[in-house]
């Protein structure tokens, strides 16, 4: 077993060897380095052919038409293009947008920008399991609502929103529906033929493709219009100008092709590993899973070890790459807004760790992390005045803390 162990697959993934190999063939003189937009010679034609094949692979994973795929630089750009693109195109219809408090910053900050431009945004709460209450969603709709944006899978707690049901409500109310699928592609079945979703953002580097590469699905029937955010040579049917990055596109295509082929087997394997991890920890005192454990992707386990601060625990797990919802991991000193939104008290948010498993995670690694965690949580609790108080039967909520 090699140390340190990577348990942060939701942050990013390594590029699959098979993907890297294909990408390398699109760079040098003896490879396909041409500009896919060059129409007058074989260098361009070959590059265009590879980009087209990649487009088919991406479309195939989500059962869409390749003409519905727009290449971007990542899910962040896809979210920006979708949300600003719709808002700017349809502003005469209305200026109200609905989204959710647990969205990724790429959605939330884009909405904040639109608020500065005069749009109105409703940020919905989620239930304590991290999922949206459909009635509350319906109640938030207004006559001037033009767009709703709801993520498919949450990046911190891994819960899966019911986008089919939410999309249905949007259809009934003629509201355009955007879904951030950065964390769901290759992990959850996505069938654009049956899902009432108009726009969906994807990223390559979350499923073993390269960073800096993504796509936006833009539905053709019924057609969704967008105002371009990047102007120039009119690439991607005018929606996103810029010379196509053949190697990146080929990488994303290959990553999506492999995901389609291996998703079912990989999900079963990851679920077994995740269960092994949780089963190895759940008998400990004061350990909580954050977010719904059933409606959740296989590779995510987000847990709070009460009375142990998350960053100190990460420091103890120095042979492992994990992430924490603790304030200390950010400059803001605010604990995770996602854990806050599911109603976790701040002290549990500070005590949270996110383990995300992936293609290269092994049973041996899981067993290693279980034994490390058990040992280090005990050590840190022995250091924790809160643990002493808990053990002495003191209700920590009844204590007057000297806030600072």
């Amino acid at each position: 077993m090699k140390l340190p162990i990577y348990f942060d697959y939701s942050a990013t993934t390594p590029v699959d060897e098979r993907v890297a190999e294909k990408m390398c063939r699109c760079l040098t003189l003896d490879g396909v380095f041409g500009n896919p937009a060059s129409r007058s010679h074989p260098f361009g034609w070959e590059a265009e052919k590879l980009a087209d094949e990649a487009r088919q692979h991406v479309a195939a994973l989500i059962n869409a038409d390749p003409r519905e795929i727009v290449w971007t630089s990542g899910a962040t750009e896809s979210d920006n293009l979708a949300i600003k693109g719709v808002a700017h195109f349809y502003h005469k219809r209305g200026k109200h947008i609905i989204t959710v408090k647990t969205e990724h910053k790429a959605v939330l900050d884009t909405c904040r920008q639109l608020e500065r431009e005069g749009y109105e945004v409703t940020y919905l709460d989620v239930e304590s399991n991290g999922l949206l209450d459909l009635d509350k969603f319906r109640d938030a709709l207004r006559d001037d609502t033009i767009l709703a944006s709801v993520m498919h899978v949450n990046n911190e707690i891994g819960v899966i929103q019911d986008i089919a049901a939410i999309g249905q409500i949007c259809r009934e109310n003629k509201v355009i529906f955007h879904v951030d699928g950065a964390q769901s592609a290759g992990k959850v079945e996505i069938d654009m033929q049956s899902l009432p979703v108009d726009l969906m953002s994807f990223s390559a580097h979350k499923i073993y493709g390269p960073k800096g590469m993504g796509a936006l699905y833009v539905r053709r029937k019924p057609r969704v219009r967008l105002e371009a955010q990047m102007h120039g040579g009119g690439h991607e049917r005018g929606l996103r100008s810029g010379t196509l990055a053949t190697h990146q596109i080929v990488g994303m295509g290959e990553a999506f092709r492999i995901a389609k082929e291996e998703m079912a087997a990989e999900n079963a394997r990851l679920l077994a590993l995740r269960n092994r991890l949780w089963n190895g920890l759940k008998d400990m005192e004061e350990v909580y899973v954050n977010g719904d454990l059933e409606q959740r992707i296989a590779g995510n386990l987000n847990i709070s070890f009460n009375f142990v601060e998350g960053e100190s625990l990460m420091m103890a797990l120095k042979d492992m790459a994990v992430s924490s919802g603790s304030a200390c991991t950010s400059a803001s000193l605010e604990p995770s807004y996602v854990l806050r939104a599911i109603g976790r008290p701040d002290e549990l948010a500070h005590s949270s760790l996110r383990f995300t498993l992936g293609r290269y995670t092994t049973e041996e690694e899981i067993d290693f992390v279980i034994s490390k965690l058990r040992e280090q949580v005990k050590r840190l609790r022995d250091l924790s005045p809160l643990w002493d108080m808990y053990k002495a039967g003191i209700d920590l909520n009844s204590v007057q803390w000297a806030a600072h």
Binding site: F307, V308, E309, E311, S312, M315, S326, A327, C328, T329, A331, L333, P335, P345, D346, E347, H350, D382, L383, S384, P385, L386, W387, D388, L396, W401, A402, A403, H404
Partner: protein, 126 residues
């Protein structure tokens, strides 16, 4: 975030971890911070008749820098008079541990903890 060697040393081998009898007249207890803020320090000092700190113990819930700040503090206060201990500045702790700016609040908390412990001790002498 990269930690300094001193922070790592105190974190991995914390000095003077423990608990003293709250109620004892010669013990002063300072508990500062809040669970919701991500750090709570409990610092206790045992003071001799001569006004010198004979022993110090701590327990801390918080990040590595908070644990290191309180561990270092227990080492520093031992053998000091109350007046000397009162003079310890958070900047001294931050400097000794090479804390980055986002972690300076940990050293502030440690300074608050020793002040609170001294105050608690003094109030018991009445």
């Amino acid at each position: 975030m990269a930690y300094s060697d001193k922070v790592i040393d105190h974190y991995e081998n914390p000095r003077n971890v423990g608990q003293m009898d709250d109620a004892a007249k010669n013990v002063g207890t300072g508990m500062v911070g809040a669970p919701a803020c991500g750090d709570v320090m409990r610092l206790q000092i045992e003071v001799g008749d001569d006004g010198v700190i004979k022993d110090a113990k701590f327990k801390t819930y918080g990040c590595g820098s908070a644990i290191a700040s309180s561990s270092l503090l227990t080492e520093w206060v031992k053998g000091k008079t109350l007046e000397e201990a009162q003079q310890i500045k958070n900047t001294d702790i931050a400097e000794e541990l090479a804390l980055p700016p986002v972690k300076v609040h940990c050293s502030v908390l440690a300074e608050d903890a020793i002040k609170a412990a001294i105050e608690d001790f003094s109030s018991k002498q009445g």
